[in-house]
Symmetry: none
Subunit: 555 residues, 2 copies
């Protein structure tokens, strides 16, 4: 009888399950659920207003993903629960929440349900920027060595700034929180009944290191005396490598999911990281770009190098035996979507409607007709800050070169090119710092659906690009980790390299750089880099000052 | 019996007459005629195709304006021709044509009617840019002192580049032309039968100076040997101050217009310049902004100063006894229109339609709801290059500060603010160079219709702004010069200062700077200026390089 594994991918707006054949990697069925509460960035469910840059989620939405999508893939595939040997999940990160000892989210208690700081802070909650800034200054002043592992800067999206925000703004929530935990680990806890934290989020988002552990109590105390014992009081020093079996489906979670009690469950993982084995990458020199609303860049190396502006390097963080490097761009698909929603004229919407096209299809069609460099436009892709290599959420978007003859599709194309230049900057920075990037792989919605964008990336980076064979690489990767959690005796695999060999997939298509385009893009990239450094490295901090003005007048 | 004067304003697309009470300034009637041939930028009336950047007009259209609109205002107002004591006109400039000795336009002769260079080159004919570039290089190399009076650069829109283009491209037209003349002076010639050239176009567009006359024959010869005697052969050294009586309505032009033979006619004038007395400005320190698709800035000073990037300074060019300064912005209303056409989402168009609003009204309503600085955006208003103070058509637009939450109305407002910052830069440059600007006045479509924009200008410039009392300031100003041409003995005035005192008009409304707004705008303007200098003064010539790339790939 064929064996199956289930992977559940928790994204920003929805969760999806996929059921996969363990031997062949064939995906038998997929089911998606949009989170009922989506991203809460203006108010809580009861109407309590949120501040600028907040982004929260609702814990019930995650459980709803299990309750709806697992039975759905079972039913669609016709697979029997007894054939399912394991389950893995991946999550956005750092998406974190304060909980009680028994795992109850504080936002679900009567006492705290109106308190924004008791809710789940989504990865893109940016209201802890001030805390991140102070943390970075203190860490630098103290000469904290771990800082280099994170490109010299901690993001406001990560665990400690978010916890510090809770403490400063709502000390009663901080006190009431027995644990601060990644939502990734929390959902596993809900399935297995056991708190088992994974090495990937702990390493990339929680400052944990395989050999050195966490920063010292003195460091946390330097942020705030009350945080000296944060790790022992509210986090955990027990961190489990990805692929470890976290436990099994309990009686209760069997009812929730329809799976059999005892089914193996892997420790949690992160969406981007889990995609590496899904495209078959298990060795160095191959960068995977997971391209959706934002882009994550994943890369394996054989040594621990310091790369400025990377998001992090974690030993065994992606694949055991390698140093897993991560970098990222905060705004890719989001960028194009912003443009489509805010800057597309009515006549284009009408044309798209009449021709039965999505507005992005129409804009792409028009943008495709332009020669490289023809628009005279260049943009800096910082509409949502810059994650790598500048690590600065206070940077903002820039467009230069507009004239009275500039057309919407020219701006649209310039925004696409800007994100490609951003990726080029990341690749160059890795290569310049001893972590070579020889080949590119891409996964995610954009890689899957948009040959136009992928060709631009090939031309801008002057590298061949291969595309994930699965449209849901994270879910597939999670399923593979589920197979590793189950182990070979149960019909799974003993390590992720074996799982990747059997279940990893690429499409036949390869995007190859076109010489004439590469040449023009070289000139445009030189301009991009000049602007990037001028606005991004402190020569002119106009973007930050404008944000300061914005904040001061909004009060 | 009340006395009246007629002012005729020749614009880019239409001509309009207004009949005005000499004692009170009351405008009794207005009549407008759209030029039957409009702007010819693709072909001549017979189908002969035109090149890129050409813009021509038809001389018959101007006479048609006299023939239609003067009888119409007479009839509408019920004024008798015997009550009309004078007539003045203003025109776009430099709008020029080659004519025979008797005033016949070469384009009206059988020999040249198919030759584009024989036609009237409209002010915005830009096909002589190459000639302007070469002229500027030669003038600078020769150390021509007059260059400083024009901010250091001659525009391709002016007389000599346009004549040089005729010579190089159609030497037979150049040879056949007994005169090259401003259309402004040509229409006066048609009314009076005498060629009388005005000091305003000669000074601002024709390089003439009250004391020094024209550039030397050596200079013209340095452009082309055949042009050595251009001034004596085809222009004129007889230049008459604005307000001079050019002559009288002839028997023939009496038939054309319905006015009585002998009615006084003033020498021609320019639309922007003639608007100064229309709002009552006859002394220094008061800047008039004529705000439409582009903006002209007019200012009187008591000394001839060199102001970098101004369009020109001409003694007696606006008001006798003062130095008239001109500066300008190439893209104001055009800017907002570009945005409305290219970047306004369908939902906004729909809302505007449902509520019966113009899209600009809707965008204004939304933009008005924003606090100063709230958007975090700054733009450089160079979508159509920069006329003052950088005098560089190769500069392009810039927007900085966009985020994923940026809304269309925020960009719209940022573009408006950018034009206000551009005006502020002009004001500061004048003030810094010894020509103080104490008060602001505004005329034109934007001043007339858009309180939101005017308040932003008041806040950004930190100056009170008064608004023209007449919606057709140029025509009113022209009528006032008609009253001066008639003189006090005929019931008019002996000089424009007296005429302005009696007939000049302002609305009751005064836009006053709001302290809180001024403070925030000071901070934003500091950012604007840094970007202005970085991109505009050569630190980073990315805009020019992008234009180069654009040109090279478009070929």
């Amino acid at each position: 009888m064929e064996k199956y594994v289930i992977g559940v991918d928790f994204g920003t707006l929805s969760g999806r399950s996929v059921i996969v054949n363990v031997s062949t990697g064939e995906e038998k069925a997929v089911a998606v659920l949009d989170y009922p509460h989506g991203v809460m960035d203006e108010k809580l469910p009861d109407g309590t207003p949120l501040g600028v840059d907040w982004a929260l989620q609702h814990p019930d939405d995650y459980l709803e993903v299990f309750r709806k999508t697992i039975p759905e893939v079972m039913s669609l595939s016709g697979v029997s629960p007894s054939q399912v040997i394991g389950l893995g999940i991946d999550f956005t990160a750092c998406t974190m929440l304060p909980v009680k000892k028994d795992g109850t989210p504080l936002c679900k208690t009567e006492k705290f349900r109106r308190e924004p700081n008791a809710w789940i802070k989504l990865w893109k909650h940016h209201a802890a920027q001030d805390h991140a800034n102070r943390l970075n200054a203190i860490a630098e002043e103290r000469g904290e060595k771990w800082l280099a592992r994170y490109g010299g800067k901690i993001s406001s999206e990560w665990l400690v700034p978010k916890i510090w925000q809770v403490l400063e703004e709502s000390p009663e929530v901080y006190d009431a929180a027995d644990r601060f935990i990644e939502a990734a680990d929390w959902v596993i806890w809900q399935l297995t009944g056991i708190e088992m934290r994974n090495s990937c989020t702990a390493g990339y988002k929680g400052l944990w290191h395989k050999h050195n552990g966490y920063p010292s109590g003195d460091f946390y105390a330097a942020l705030d005396q009350r945080m000296r014992n944060l790790v022992d009081d509210k986090l955990s020093r027990d961190i489990y490598p990805v692929g470890t079996r976290a436990g099994s489906i309990t009686e209760e979670s069997a009812k929730l999911t329809g799976l059999l009690p005892g089914t193996a469950v892997a420790v949690a993982n992160v969406d981007a990281h889990v995609s590496m084995p899904a495209v078959g990458i298990t060795s160095e020199g191959k960068m995977l770009m997971i391209m959706g609303t934002s882009t994550c860049h994943m890369l394996l190396g054989t040594e621990e190098k310091t790369v400025p502006g990377m998001c992090g390097v974690v030993e065994d963080g992606i694949i055991a035996g390698y140093f897993g490097y991560e970098a990222g761009q905060s705004c890719v698909g989001d960028h194009f979507q912003w443009f489509a929603e805010n800057c597309t004229p009515a006549e284009y919407m009408k044309e798209a409607e009449e021709r039965g096209l999505d507005i992005h299809q129409l804009l792409t069609e028009k943008a495709e007709g332009l020669k490289v460099g023809e628009s005279g436009l260049i943009a800096l892709d910082w509409w949502n800050g810059n994650r790598s290599v500048l690590v600065d959420v206070d940077l903002t978007g820039l467009l230069v070169g507009a004239t009275l003859l500039t057309r919407p599709e020219e701006i649209y194309r310039a925004l696409i090119e800007a994100t490609a230049f951003g990726t080029r900057e990341i690749i160059d920075t890795f290569s310049d710092n001893g972590v070579p990037v020889k080949e590119l792989y891409a996964a995610g919605g954009i890689a899957e659906k948009n040959p136009f964008i992928m060709q631009i990336y090939a031309d801008v980076t002057n590298r061949e690009i291969r595309i994930s064979g699965s449209p849901q690489a994270p879910a597939l990767g999670s399923a593979m980790f589920g197979a590793v959690a189950a182990g070979s005796q149960a019909g799974g695999y003993d390590n992720i390299v074996e799982a990747a060999r059997a279940m990893g997939k690429l499409k036949d298509i390869v995007y190859r750089p076109v010489k004439e385009n590469v040449e023009v893009y070289e000139r445009l990239f030189a301009e991009y880099r000049t602007l990037h450094d001028y606005f991004g490295r402190g020569t002119n901090n106009v973007m930050k000052r404008l944000k300061e003005i914005k904040k001061s007048v909004k009060r």
